[in-house]
């Protein structure tokens, strides 16, 4: 029979366990659930080597909505684009997403969702904006001997801090490089790569790419097996921004764009997983052919010997 003391102890233990469990649950919830009704803000600072850039126009594009659990869903003018924005793990992959989306903004003349100008400290703010995944457009600033380039980049609102908590007021400092004017001819290359092992039969016979220079369409090229899926062109290295867009991505594929100096790589990924082989065993039939050859010669010798005996 339970005494009053024992009952109190049991209640105490149960309450303690309940408190621990609920604390853990709350901690997990805080790390995973986004308050989608909470407004967000974005503050960016444009500077290079201590020099701030005032009066710069900065454009942002709301690319995708964010769910309570941090998943992105392409929205608005980006809704039908064949671009994967979830399951991105590395900065390189995010850079590829930004390059790809930036090219589509140019090709489809998508208007920004926000535009503002940097102040004397090079800072620009976007307050009370919807949560989601944003692309901040590239900025190019001409100097006396060259130009400063702030590449396009992706930013999430909210973002996770070091303690895995959602931050709804995000502050960022875009990376930049300084490139001197060269004015020499430079050869640009674009290659087509595929991530579709086991499904190569799904590939189209050819694909069309649009080449843009400073936002203007200059050329449409066709890549196919005939040209080994690559194309080159020459232009002056005067700081112009070149972009490449794949106009009609084949069904079942997504596209990413990579740029490294004067080299563009267009990667089409097929969404289904690869079917791995079962064995790497290989057979060498040469030895069996030698045996058959020897057997054949043996039979010839046997036949010739038999005929001689018969004639004798």
């Amino acid at each position: 029979m339970l005494t009053r003391k024992m009952t109190r102890r049991i209640i105490g233990i149960v309450l303690t366990v309940a408190l621990i469990v609920s604390s853990v649950a709350l901690a997990v919830t805080a790390a995973t659930a986004v308050d989608t009704s909470h407004p967000g803000s974005l503050c960016l600072t444009y500077s290079y080597d201590g020099q701030s850039f005032a009066g710069i126009d900065v454009a942002i594009y709301h690319v995708a909505d964010i769910t309570r659990y941090g998943a992105y869903s392409l929205s608005g003018a980006f809704a039908d684009l064949p671009v994967e924005v979830n399951n991105i793990k590395t900065q390189d992959e995010w850079n590829q997403v930004a390059s790809t989306l930036s090219a589509y903004v140019t090709a489809k003349e998508i208007l920004p969702d926000g535009k503002s100008t940097t102040d004397e400290n090079g800072a620009v703010s976007f307050g009370e904006i919807p949560l989601g995944l944003y692309m901040v457009a590239a900025v190019r600033i001409e100097g006396d001997t060259g130009y400063y380039v702030f590449d396009q980049f992706m930013i999430s609102l909210p973002d996770l801090d070091d303690e895995d908590k959602w931050v709804y007021d995000v502050v960022a400092k875009p990376k930049s490089v300084f490139q001197e004017f060269e004015y020499e001819d430079i050869t640009y290359h674009v290659n087509k790569l595929w991530k579709d092992e086991g499904y190569a039969h799904k590939r189209p016979q050819s694909i069309d790419l649009e080449l843009y220079c400073n936002g203007t369409l200059t050329e449409t090229v066709t890549l196919s097996a005939e040209n080994n899926w690559n194309y080159s062109w020459t232009a002056k290295d005067d700081g112009s921004i070149w972009q490449v867009v794949e106009t009609d991505v084949a069904e079942g594929y997504t596209v990413t764009m990579e740029q490294s100096e004067a080299s563009f790589t267009v990667i089409n990924s097929y969404e289904k997983p690869e079917i791995p082989p079962v064995t790497g065993d290989v057979s060498n039939i040469d030895i069996y052919l030698w045996i058959i050859c020897a057997a054949g010669l043996g039979l010839i010798v046997l036949g010739v010997t038999g005929r001689r005996r018969k004639s004798e």
């Binding site: 994967e84 979830n86 399951n87 991105i88 793990k89 590395t90 390189d92 992959e93 290359h189 290659n191 087509k192 790569l193 595929w194 991530k195 092992e197 086991g198 190569a200 097996a225 080994n228 899926w229 690559n230 990579e258 490294s260 100096e261 080299s263 790589t265 990667i267 990924s269 690869e274 791995p276 082989p277 079962v278 064995t279 790497g280 065993d281 290989v282 060498n284 039939i285 040469d286 052919l289 030698w290 058959i292 050859c293 057997a295 054949g296 010669l297 043996g298 039979l299 010839i300 010798v301 046997l302 036949g303 010739v304 010997t305 038999g306 005929r307 018969k310």
Partner: protein
């Protein structure tokens, strides 16, 4: 009837023997020519793959959302990059998928990816590929460059011997890179297990 067959048996042996010997010799000659063509193909594919690569930079394997290795199609062959064995002065293109016919020309990726450290590549010990495989040793370097311009350097940790090269055997252990080759002299497989890093 039996006597007739017995009388013609030597002729039957000669005819049958000639057919077998000519057929086998013909196939051996065909294989030899194919191997010669394969060597030319491999050289051509390697040259094109290297010419089409973007600027190369040293990278470390880093797991991605999509770990599939991108391939470029060169003369109908999907190539995921090149493999260099500097101690032996050999550089070879790598085909993207497992294909025993294509294996005669160039090494083929069996399964896996550089980025999640699961890559397994099959090659032959022919003179156009890893004919020096029996001389390979722990500490040798293998350098892979993918078609996105990433350069990854591996070091041979151990060389195992196996009678078979089934998927489960090849995927044993936690090696960033495995290169397997069938020794044509004794039909044994050499499994060259590598870790990332110099």
């Amino acid at each position: 009837m039996k006597q007739r067959i017995a009388a013609r048996l030597p002729l039957i042996c000669i005819v049958l023997g000639a057919v077998l010997a000519i057929a086998a010799a013909g196939m051996l000659l065909y294989n030899s020519i194919s191997l010669s063509l394969a060597k030319n193909d491999a050289v051509e594919i390697l040259a094109q793959a290297q010419a089409l690569m973007p600027p190369i930079e040293n990278r470390a394997p880093e797991e991605r959302g999509n770990n599939a290795m991108a391939s470029i199609q060169i003369d109908g062959v999907n190539v995921i990059g090149v493999m260099e064995l500097p101690e032996y002065g050999r550089t070879l293109p790598i085909a993207s998928g497992w294909n025993t016919a294509l294996l005669k020309s160039i090494p083929c990726r069996f399964t896996g990816s550089i980025y999640d450290k699961t890559l397994i590549i099959g090659a032959t010990d022919g003179e156009t590929q890893l004919d020096f495989v029996t001389k390979m040793d722990v500490g040798d370097q293998i350098i892979l460059t993918d078609m996105e311009g990433g350069k990854y350097t591996y070091r041979v940790d151990t060389i195992q011997h196996s009678k078979h090269a089934g998927a489960s055997k090849l995927q044993e252990g936690d090696y960033a890179l495995t290169v397997f080759v069938k020794n044509s002299k004794n039909s044994e497989y050499l499994l060259i297990r590598c870790s990332y890093g110099k």
